[in-house]
């Protein structure tokens, strides 16, 4: 299994996936901070293809969001690569390789969208590894499509977001939320219920 060194904390690929699936705030942030080591290689890739540092940062942000959502949706899994030789050590698709490919695709999409470079698509696609069958790379959608937060933020009102954030993410009690918002506990419960019902309709559509 691949083990990538980090300044402070190191995670194996398996630990990255398992950690993200625990959906814990602190662990998720630590893993994301660990994955930040790939920013440099992605910056090189973007800048080698007529991009700027700012573009590379955007690509990295989008890449992480897509990766998180793919792990949570179980679209990304650590799959053992087939080998004809039974004696050979087990091989897995590296997260580093996967993220790099993901970033490539995101940048390609942006390049095509911006029409920055003519004939760039052909050149770029020629460089791509076509053996993507073990990954959901081909299913990549844009950040706008996959971002859960953007989806939620675009559909719910500000007070909804505040209450859901406080209750589900910051683990605050109904009483604490009521005190902060200067409304009754009953009102908090009603608003929360309505928000969840609205969100439920959106995501089960």
């Amino acid at each position: 299994m691949n083990k990538i060194k980090l300044m402070a904390e190191t995670f194996t690929d398996q630990q990255v996936v398992d950690g993200l699936l625990k959906r814990e705030k602190s662990l998720t942030n630590r893993i994301v901070a660990y994955l930040y080591i790939y920013q440099e290689s992605i910056t090189h890739m973007v800048m080698a293809n007529n991009g700027r540092t700012e573009d590379a940062e955007d690509v990295f942000q989008e890449m992480i969001i897509i990766f998180l959502n793919q792990v949570w949706d179980e679209k990304f899994k650590l799959i053992k690569l087939s080998s004809d030789d039974p004696e050979e050590e087990e091989k897995y698709i590296k997260i580093s390789t996967y993220l790099y490919k993901l970033a490539n695709r995101i940048w390609l999409k942006k390049m095509l969208r911006d029409k920055k470079q003519q004939n760039w698509e052909d050149k770029f696609l020629a460089l791509q590894d076509t053996n993507d069958e073990y990954t959901p790379l081909l299913q990549i959608t844009s950040e706008e499509d996959s971002s859960r937060f953007k989806k939620m933020y675009s559909q719910l009102k500000e007070d909804c977001i505040k209450i859901l954030d406080a209750f589900y993410f910051q683990d605050k009690s109904i009483r604490e939320i009521a005190d902060e918002l200067k409304i009754t506990e009953a009102n908090v419960k009603v608003i929360k219920h309505r928000c969840i019902e609205k969100l439920k309709k959106i995501i089960t559509r």
Binding site: V32, Q39, I64, L68, R148, Y168
Partner: protein, 235 residues
């Protein structure tokens, strides 16, 4: 009424999913899930929504973490590149100063020292009335212009001799006397007698009531030539 029931049911499901129910109520809910498909579907939908909310906030938090790291890196990069920028700036300044110095030195070295044209200043040099000239004065004026001619021909030693002779005459206008001294200094410089040239230069360089007008640029040219001649270089 239906709304209140729905709300109550939602609270129960949510509490069940957050593991906040007592054992008996928990068992009741689990029984309903097994035997009431409609209820089981509701539980699943709320669970799915809760998960979605949690992931949405996790995603926002992850994005904040990345942005903070990127910001930190930008600041680090800025700090690292700032001294380089300063170095580049100072390199440019030094290069510019060096280029300017070369231009100035070349100008001072290569362009000729220009003194006011004495031949066209006959009256200033000699006075309006030329009939009362002594023989000595006439020789002095003649030698001065001979010196100029020798200088122009590159006969610097002869020019020195002419200017020295012209300078010995006392009863001449200050303008002429000063012109002779300046020409003599230049002739000394050209003939390799830098120390003599320097003595004359020092005598006149800070003169406040002198009549023979030498521009600062031409003074610098002469001074520069004297310094180079002192170091064995000839112009």
């Amino acid at each position: 009424m239906k709304q209140a029931e729905d709300h109550e049911e939602f609270n129960t499901i949510e509490a069940y999913l957050l593991n906040q129910l007592d054992k008996k109520t928990m068992a009741d809910v689990e029984y309903r899930i097994k035997n009431d498909s409609e209820f089981a579907k509701k539980v699943k939908e709320i669970q799915h929504t809760q998960l979605f909310i949690k992931e949405a906030f996790l995603e926002r938090s992850a994005l904040e973490t990345i942005k903070a790291l990127q910001q930190k890196d930008r600041e680090k990069f800025k700090k690292e590149t700032q001294p380089k920028r300063k170095t580049v700036y100072w390199k440019k300044v030094v290069s510019f100063a060096a280029a300017a110095s070369i231009i100035i030195i070349s100008y001072l070295s290569l362009t000729p020292v220009e003194f006011p044209d004495t031949e066209n200043d006959f009256h200033i040099t000699r006075g309006l009335d030329t009939t009362n000239f002594t023989r000595e004065q006439r020789i002095a004026f003649s030698q001065f212009f001979d010196g100029q001619a020798h200088f122009a021909e590159g006969e610097y030693l002869l020019a020195v001799r002419d200017f020295e002779n012209a300078a010995t005459v006392k009863n001449v206008r200050p303008y002429f006397r000063e012109a002779t001294q300046w020409h003599l200094a230049l002739a000394y410089t050209k003939s390799g007698q830098a120390l003599k040239a320097e003595r004359i230069y020092k005598q006149f360089s800070e003169c406040v009531d002198c009549e023979y007008p030498i521009s600062p640029v031409n003074r610098w040219k002469l001074w520069w030539r004297i310094q180079w001649a002192k170091n064995g270089r000839l112009f």
